[in-house]
Amino acid sequence: MNVPRKKQFKYLLLLGTMLFSTAALFAQQGTIKGTVTDVNGDPIIGANVFIEGTTQGTVSDVNGAYTLPNIPAGTISLSVSFVGYLKETQSVPVTDGSISESNFVLIEDLQQLSEVVVIGYGTQKKSDLTGAITSVDAEDLQRLPNTGMTTLLQGMAAGVQVLQSSGQPGTNPVIRIRGLATVNGGSPLIVIDGISGGSLNDLNPADIESIEILKDAASQSIYGAAGGNGVILITTKKGQKGIRVQLDVFAGIQGPWKTNLGIADAQEYAAIYNKYQETRGSDIYFPNEGGVFLNPETNEPLTNTEWTNEIFRTAFVQNYNVSLSGGNKISTFFLGFNYNDEDGIVKKTNGKQYIVRLNSENKIGKRVTLGENLNLSQNRLQQQSEFNEYSSPLGTSIQMLPFIPIKATDGSGNFAYRDAGLSSNVTNPLAQIEYNNNFSKSRSIIGDVYGRVEIIKGLTFESRFGMGYNPTEYRQFVPSYIIGNLDNPSASQSVPNNQYTYNITMTNRWQWQNFFNYNFLLGNYHNFTLTGGMESTSSEYEVTNRTQAFEDDSLIFDPEEWEDFADADELDLLQPTVIRPTRSYAYFVRLNYDFRGILLFQGNFRRDYSSMFGQNQRVGNFPSFSVGIKFSEIAAVKNLGIFDFGKIRVGYGETGNSDIVPFQYLSTIGSLSMHDYPFSDVLINGAALVTAGNADLKWESVVTKNIGADFRFLKNRLSFSVDLFQRENKDMLLRKSVPLTVGYVVTDAGNELGDASRDTRPLVNYGTLNNKGFEFTATFKNKVGIFDYEVYANFTRAKTTIDDIGDPLYAGSGRGTANVNRTVNEGPIAAFYGYEIDGIYHEEDFTWYYTNRWRRVVEVEGGAIEVEGTDENGNPVVLTTNTMAAAPGTFRYVDTNGDGEITTDDMVQIGDPNPDFTYGFGANFAAWNFDLSLFFQGSYGNDIFNLMKVNTYNIDNGGLNISGELSDAFIPATYDAGTASSLPQQLTPAENTTTGIKRMDAVLTSSEFFVEDGSYLRLKNAQLGYTLTLEKVKIKKLRFYLGATNLLTFTKYSGFDPEVNERILGGTQTNILEKGFDRGTYPQARMFIFGLNCTF
């Protein structure tokens, strides 16, 4: 009988009890016999057959048969249960002396009732969880093409937001667990096989066994100060009995899903520009011959370059994955190798990744287990600049004039420069791509060794030591170059020297954990698991920046040889290497208790010690508890027959946020140019306080409350989980106003926005923020005949509101706008601020009046705004003193504060980049040997501020391209001078089309007009596979598939891509205060692949 020893013992006990109980039998007895089989008719061996409400029972034999003699007569309730199957109960009439037959067909429990999840320093049965933990298993991940760990999690789990800000290979999305708990950003803690502080980007998704996401403090607080932003626990694959070889390969192509952004082509631009020139009485710029506009310099018909198309390409992707695993009773091992090569959809972008993973586990005797994990990875990237409307080809491709050819017209082979006549200040995006050689290479070695001893039954001790080493090099090379016509210096730009920049960052860390787990039963019903131990961590972060300009332009940069290009040590050190070492240690204890598997309790306590802060604030205590009740186990509920499973969970906990730069308790002093002083007219280097330290600085403290419930209905086919949560950050780190008298800060009166470089204020634990929401997950699985299907959905709403941060925080400044993103009290994080628009001004809205010159005024509520007039010579002037430039055809901004003026005080919240909710849903189908999976993911209710529109909706924008919609726009009128006694006369009537959206040449700034709905729904993944079974050639499984990523996108957003999100600052750093501010986003690619999975 293949029954575990422990179970055998139980059964013996059970049988013993039965024998004992038979001594007290009544006279009237019968016998029940029957079989236990699965749905295919195969016998289930060792199933537990027992009479409800008694201890009488038996187990099924090798044929699935059982016999229960000596059953009292009457109708009894007979149940059968077996691990992995749903419990089945039947009513059986028993009559004296006869044999009743009762056969059971057990249905597989698709929910894996006994499934165990990792909870940090231990495991727990999933059905006993009292915290909010989501599991994603390998099977779910492996339906998606391997495009990186983080990306794969997008839309997979309720409460887990994966924000992609760029489709560039190597830019890693950020993960937010249940929205934001701090304005300082903060990513979840990543724990790989028990060792914390790792990075998802170094892992190969194919090596992952399971992912657990700890979403509430009740489950996070075992990680203390590091847990406040959520914890992601990764368990990697281990070898299993026998030898197994797995091969997964795919290759495909990818490209942009949208390149036409509605901006003008060459002929449209010329038509609109000429019309503008004509109307204001200037010469037309583009000659016109038979309806075709000509280039003013060459008199040839205008060529047209579709820049937003030219920067893209159809790119090749390939991925190879091989793993070998195996084991016997004593040892297991796993060896995996992955190679991924992805060309980005923007030219000259590429990512190549190699990952090797090795682990083994060995049993020494019966009680000792020793093992190790080793993960090596190398990631090479070639990237283009992003998040900058001036230097990124994604931004400049929208702004570059369409009639400029790619290459200069003089045959020199140079890239074309901007148009001299229109003096545009935008660089040829293809030249930017060509001359920007931006490489990075990061390597990582992560490994750990561990040992586990079962000291006595139920008590294990585990020690685990892990190390990580992660150097990343960034190299940038800009060669000397000339753009434009050689013969025309005013229409060319040249850089005489090769410029080489080299940065290296290095992370070095180790962690050592020692802990116990003790599981014991008190009495029959009180089940305890105690976990306790300590952990110490040391990490060092090092940064070095070097740069040099080489006059020798014969130096040719060869991307393939880039590593050998120059010895970095020879370059000029820009500043000393900065090393920030931090150390911490912690003690933790956890108690799990359950009463009869019905009442559940968990309590955690962790005490953290960290060098992150000054002497006084190095200790933090992080308690939490949660309780649950499996109400479906209560007899009364059970009898209802509605719930196959039902549990309610309530949790409370405190965690910290320590995802901050260490050493901020110290004052730093800097030597900036503004600290220099001219003694005897010669500048002498000076130094002064840059940031004041604060010895009292401590962790941000986050308090979370969670209430959740899990249900399963319809014979476990339908499962449903829902959670409501509330998080409060009470000590958010901020720079808060202190009295000016302290001398730390200059809140510059002339500049309401202050100047960050002069902000010497110390960080303080001041801000409060709350974060509320709910989330649910639902899955329905069924099988109809040969047709297997599963549909699932998840939904997350997480709303973060600032309670108090003192002074507002600003971000989102770009061409034509300043501080669009504002984080203010009682608002969301990074809301858009600007003017509300109440239509546009018309000629009749204005009246003229004369003071010392003619002025045109418009009446607004509460007063008159002087907006535009003529100077002494009759030239139109726009008065800007304390007023927004306004004229017929410009936006009528709303005077929200009613002071009769339109000033920056009238800016109000005009949009919110944070979604109302995010969601994912999908379906998997299998029939015959085919499988089909579809996965959708979306975001609803988030806004995007389209910065690129601010520039392209003004013809007088300094020679940038314009939106095609401007062909319907207003044309400004011109006036003669007028005299003191006569009004200026309108020389050219303004074209006032009713469809006109605005005046063509109005200077624009942040307003509602540029805020767009950023909601989207994406068919993230679609895959159709066919599986061959080829047992004769020892191939266990061979599956071919066709897949597509981002096949369909539904959105109203007009830019390249609706996934704009947070601005990436470099590496894994993002500025969460600049969100949804589109400077020309590197779009998510649409990818088509063909692949195969093969298992030997």
Binding site: P581, T582, Y585, S673, F679, D681, G686, G750
Partner: protein
Amino acid sequence: MKTLYEKIIKKWRILFLATPLLTLSCSEKFLETELTGLATEEFYYSTVSGISELVTGTYASLNTCPANLHTLDVMYVAFGSIASDEAEAGGEIGGNDKVDFQNWDKGIPTATEQEAISQNNWAYSYKTIQRANQTLAGIAKYREDNASIPSDSAALLNQFEGEMEFIRAFVHFKLTQIYGGVPIIDHLLSSSEYGITRKTVAECLHFVQERLEIAIDLLPTKGAYGPGNAGRATSGAAEALLAKASLYESSYAENYAGDERFAGCEQKYAEALTHAQNVINSGEYTLLGINGETFDTYWNQNGSTIYPESTPGYRYIFTVDGENSDEDVFSVQSINDGLPVYMISRGTYLTIYMTVRNTSVSTLGWGFNCPTEDMLNDYEPGDPRIIVTIGRDGDPVYINDEWLTMSCVQSPTNMIGRKFEASPEQYWGTRGHDSNGPNNFTYIRYADVVLFAAEAAFKTGDQTTALEYVNMIRKRARDGATTGVPEDLSSISFDDIINERHYELALEGHRFFDLVRWARTEFIVGQPLQKWLNGVERPSPVSNAFTVGVNEFSPIPQVEIINSNGSLIQYPGYE
């Protein structure tokens, strides 16, 4: 019988139990880590050159430019001259330019009206004090950490300490002039000390005097500094400021008896006289042109004559070449560094603010600080200081390397101040930005010290000495000639001293503070203001609304009242 394996396991159990206990002993020592590569206080405190950089950084704070473009010198002129009877705000025609300047012209504005200018003055002043305190903390730490310091380093440290004591006293003094009693910040504040309160005028002045006494002993004389040190605080500067602080205290005590704001002030005219005379008798300073030297005498080193030969030596003090001359006691240094970055440039906005606004030369100045008709009329006709101080239509002005004719039609008074126009330097041709003004701002000029001495002597009853000093100033004014205007006085009254300061120091930011300490604000009360004010053409002249008993001092910036959570309180009349 136990197997070997079982024995080992038994031992291991103990071992495994012991391991976490060992690690439990992890002490706080484990947490001691060191940041490298980033400059902390400790790094700068550890070397004399680090401290030297902190000293320089403290001076740099004196020529800081806030985002509203009012450099500290521009603000000082607004407080001292525009607020008085000698000048109007000016600026763009229509009187709507730099609203805070216009407000200052009307009389001392309310806390809200003066927000920008006063808030910046307060913030940057205390920022300078913070830097001085930080540097002093560094010096103390260095001395504490280094048992034996080589004598040259020790001397340098003494000099640095003196410089910081001087700057800290100097900024506190300026704040007291403007706001009356202010918080005294004499060390780096910890967060528990943010509940700042204001001290009395007397306490502030006593603090200033006490620290300057220390500074005098620590600082070298002007002549004792080696080359390359022009601009550093000297013992002469400290003593001159001490004379000024003593004189202010004496005036307040004499003229505001019974006024709560000045409680504790004493008449110290004798001390003021001693300190001023110590400076005069040091031989370190000269009134340029007192022996008949002309502009050319000093300037001719450049080999060409720009002003006519007859231009007085007095003119030379106000040119860029005349900076740090023998008449200079303490001035804040600025250079045209060509940096087109307004908050970073080490130049000053003073030049562009104070130069004539002229439609025919589009790149000219903004035309603030316009002398009043009264100012012009107060001079004795023919006083050579008039043409140096006041520019009128048709006067020659050296701009862009050539002589142009000045047009003052855009000035509300049809006149412009000339003391900060920077010629004959070719500033207008070389500047990269409005922030590149090269003018030093002279806070203490030797003539000022001579007049302190005259005033102090007069008040101690020594009219002879007072007369001698006033006549020294008048002699220089007439280019050292024995006869001519202004003639030597034969006898002296206090009004003569008032007038001589008026003539000699016009538009340099002193007048308002002088009138206040003398309680002679009748010059300000009811003074007619420019026709254009706040963008509105006044049908009839408006009068300066100075309220005696209130407007002697400015209100503390409202934002700071709010920041202080009630620990800072306005003087009566401003609550």
